[in-house]
Symmetry: C2
Subunit: 137 residues, 2 copies
DNA sequence: ATAGTGTTTCCAGTTACTGGAAGGTCAAGC
DNA sequence: GCTTGACCTTCCAGTAACTGGAAACACTAT
């Protein structure tokens, strides 16, 4: 399987497939006589695994860990659960931040007449710290 | 006001303050005889404006636009509202994505016993596309 | 005079790719 | 056998928005 077939099967751009091998996230594939990368089903399964982990928002570094666990037939499910739970916490935190951001901005958009006059509570709020969004933590 | 005083007043790292002038987001400040950057209250107000817009998640490019509107005494509030509303849409979209991600991952974490046995639905799901997260759009 | 802190510029690194140029390879068609 | 076009290779550069660090100059206090 050449790179474009493998990348289609994995659902990743060919560039990304090359990149993942470059950074050592997945093993470098075998090469044909002329230097073409040659993929088998096991490589594709790993690429799919990585793609899906990335879609879940795991970082490359976390994907490295997860791939290690994926390949280790003797690891405990607790190891995996620990990483996934940490990620879940991050998602929940991001959700809370987005929620308050959304509420504040929606309030401002609501208060703005949006007509051709210059008076605008959105701009006022950005310029005036007393009525803007929370400070970053 | 030297850069560290200004950066404290604006709530931004000095590095970032320099960076914002380097990329032309805010005007380059005056210099002292020895070359130190010298800030006045108007500069600090602009830096605060940018910091708060960034905290709202506006990109640097959007901050550029907003700063233009901030400085234009004759712009209509509709111009501002349009940018803010677009940003609000993005936030809402991100929220929906995070929500489904959270639900799916929470479901998996819940299903994983997290003990010392290797069997783990989280890893299984990553390896098996039929029970993983949605495809990216 | 010296120590310590503040400031300057510049270069490099971060994350996770993505775009593009220059050139080699392969299969089909004539 | 030759050309065309698709596919493949490497390498370099750029993205967003900073952040870290080195080397050197400035200011203040003792």
């Amino acid at each position: 399987m050449n790179i474009s077939a493998a990348s289609k099967a994995a659902g990743l751009p060919a560039k990304t497939v090359r990149y993942y091998a470059d950074i050592g996230l997945v093993p470098a594939p075998a090469r044909s006589e002329s230097g073409y990368r040659s993929y088998d089903n096991a490589s594709v399964r790993k690429l799919i695994f990585v793609r899906r982990a990335r879609e879940f928002g795991f970082s490359i570094s976390e994907c490295r860990d997860l791939l290690g666990l994926y390949e280790d037939r003797r690891r405990s499910s607790a190891d995996v659960k620990r990483i996934a739970t940490a990620r879940l916490e991050e998602i929940a935190k991001k959700q809370r931040e987005l929620q308050s951001l959304h509420d504040e901005l929606a309030h401002l958009v609501d208060a703005c007449r949006g007509d051709d006059r210059p008076d605008c509570p959105i701009i006022d709020s950005l310029g005036n710290p007393r009525r803007g969004p929370r400070q970053a933590p």
